[in-house]
């Protein structure tokens, strides 16, 4: 009897724990949107600076139909994925090298950490001159910013592999190659993936930023176009869309990370 009462109660608690925070954050967004709507409608907020949320949402449809927002998204996505792929090609072996050769690790990990914290986006004029106003520049900027976290986290992940697991490998007489492929790599995957996730996000952010600055490519170019057209609702709609895409990226990557690290 008790169980029949307890079970629905337990389910309710679980559902609240899952949906409660999401509903609360959505309600805050709706509330802030409503306030902004009222401020713009009443003239307190200048509509030439801030777009009313309703207008911004209506502009989204126009961005898709007339300004090819869908295609722009695909262009940016393709660039971000290419840059991340190249960042992995550079960052994973670099991280392994810094782990494998301790002297190199001690010499250059600090450099990489400093570069990770630096606004590398400021290097874009250099590549603009060397490569030109094309995808080469945007992807190169994505690769540079993406490969640093990949290398740092790969090195860190390999350092964190439990010595006991390595002793298990030694006890089973594993060769160095077997130890690497059967123990070090799978043990390092969850932490190394954190670097790949950050690499992808850094690439995406930098690519969109450069697209905006050089008025070229995908999503960043759409924001830039709206800005130069002085289409304020369109510009906010494009920014809103970029935020949605970033959230989607983050959610998918977090799910993959959780799958890789179930503990």
């Amino acid at each position: 009897m008790c169980m029949t009462h307890a079970e629905p109660h337990q389910k309710q608690r679980l559902a609240f724990a899952l949906w409660g925070p999401r509903t609360a954050s959505l309600l805050v967004l709706l509330f802030l949107g409503l306030i902004l709507e009222v401020l713009v409608a009443s003239g307190i907020a200048d509509p030439s600076i801030v777009a009313a949320p309703s207008e911004m949402l209506m502009s989204l449809e126009r961005l898709f139909t007339k300004d090819n927002l869908g295609a722009a998204f695909l262009i940016t996505l393709a660039q971000a994925l290419s840059a991340t792929f190249l960042a992995m090609l550079i960052g994973l072996p670099l991280g392994w090298t810094l782990f494998r050769y301790e002297v190199l690790g001690r010499a250059y990990r600090g450099w990489l950490a400093a570069m990770f914290a630096a606004p590398l986006v400021l290097l874009y004029p250099l590549f603009l001159v060397i490569i030109g106003r094309n995808y080469g520049t945007t992807i190169t900027m994505g690769v540079i910013t993406g490969s640093i976290p990949v290398a740092l986290y790969t090195c860190e992940a390999l350092h964190k592999v439990s010595p006991t697991l390595l002793k298990v490998g030694a006890a089973f007489n594993l060769t160095a190659r077997q130890t690497f492929t059967l123990i070090q790599v799978p043990a390092a995957v969850p932490d190394a993936f954190t670097g790949i996730r950050l690499g992808l996000i850094y690439s995406l952010v930098n690519i969109i930023g450069i697209e905006f600055l050089i008025d070229f490519g995908g999503l960043g170019r759409v924001v830039s176009t709206m800005f130069f057209r002085y289409d304020i609702p369109g510009m906010y709609a494009a920014i809103f869309f970029i935020i949605l895409i970033s959230l989607l990226f983050l959610t998918v990557l977090k799910k993959v990370e959780r799958w890789l690290r179930p503990v």
Binding site: A171, L174, A187
Partner: protein, 264 residues
């Protein structure tokens, strides 16, 4: 009967970061016969784990040798299977895949190795948990997985370093029962490193008592309790007698260890 495993005059000295030399093991001698269960017991810091690592080939001795079936060995050896005190299951592998690990490394066909792994999973009482990952298991179940993984490689000698050290007393006793059944079923030659007197008496045919640093074998005591055994034995007078005898030997050494730790 000749010893399956023999430790002859093995010694080890370590150098600390500040250059001090610490003799962990004075020349130690020990033999384990075929099918025998021998426990090594000693106070903390007596060099039990150093001896474990030397026998398992993880570190080389400064002098002496480890002999397996009459052959002097150096480095890890296929006839010695090791179970570690710390968490050692592979978190990315299921119980079955963990147990099949050594068979996979040996190049056994997938179907054959999984079949064989299932046998060892059953042996350690984890049937029904084959497809669970280590994080879904209790500490005791994870250690049983590690034991099954080592047993699957069919070592002549099973070498264990406080495998139940991180578990509570009740789980430790129950797992001791399980281990007794496994060793009886496989007639497995086993060497257990422990600091738990009850565990040593419950499981062993012989208990070797080590002195505090530099560690050496002070005495070996034959445990003449009937087999098959289980944890009910611990309430008997004979069991208590063995525990008392070992503690008598250990107390002074443990006291030395505590004093040394206090001075350090």
């Amino acid at each position: 009967m000749t010893a399956t495993l023999e430790v002859r005059n093995v010694s080890k000295t370590f150098e600390s970061d500040n250059g001090d030399r610490i003799q962990a093991l004075a020349p130690a001698n020990l033999g384990v016969k075929q099918g025998e269960f021998l426990s090594i017991i000693g106070p903390s810091g007596c060099g039990k784990s150093t001896l474990f690592n030397i026998i398992g080939g993880m570190i080389p001795p400064d002098s002496g040798e480890v002999i397996v079936n009459g052959v002097s060995v150096s480095g890890p050896h296929k006839d010695i299977g090791m179970v570690f005190q710390e968490e050692s299951t592979f978190p990315w592998r299921t119980v079955l895949d963990n147990v099949a690990f050594s068979l996979e490394v040996a190049g056994m066909e997938k179907k054959e190795r999984l079949e064989k792994a299932r046998h060892f999973v059953e042996l350690v009482g984890l049937t029904g948990f084959e497809h669970h990952f280590p994080h879904q298991l209790s500490g005791g179940m994870r250690q049983r997985t590690a034991i099954a993984r080592t047993l699957a490689s069919e070592p002549r000698i099973l070498l264990m370093d406080e495998p139940f050290g991180a578990l509570d007393e009740q789980t430790r006793l129950l797992l001791g029962d399980k281990l007794l059944k496994i060793c009886d079923a496989l007639k497995q030659t086993t060497m257990l490193i422990t600091h738990n007197i009850t565990e040593a008496v419950q499981l062993s045919d012989r208990v070797a008592v080590m002195s505090y640093r530099p560690g050496t074998i002070m005495r070996t005591i034959d445990i003449e309790l009937p087999r098959p055994r289980d944890s009910e034995l611990i309430s008997t007078d004979k069991f208590a007698g063995y525990v008392g005898r070992i503690w008598e030997d250990l107390r002074m050494e443990a006291d030395r260890g505590m004093k040394a730790a206090g001075e350090a």
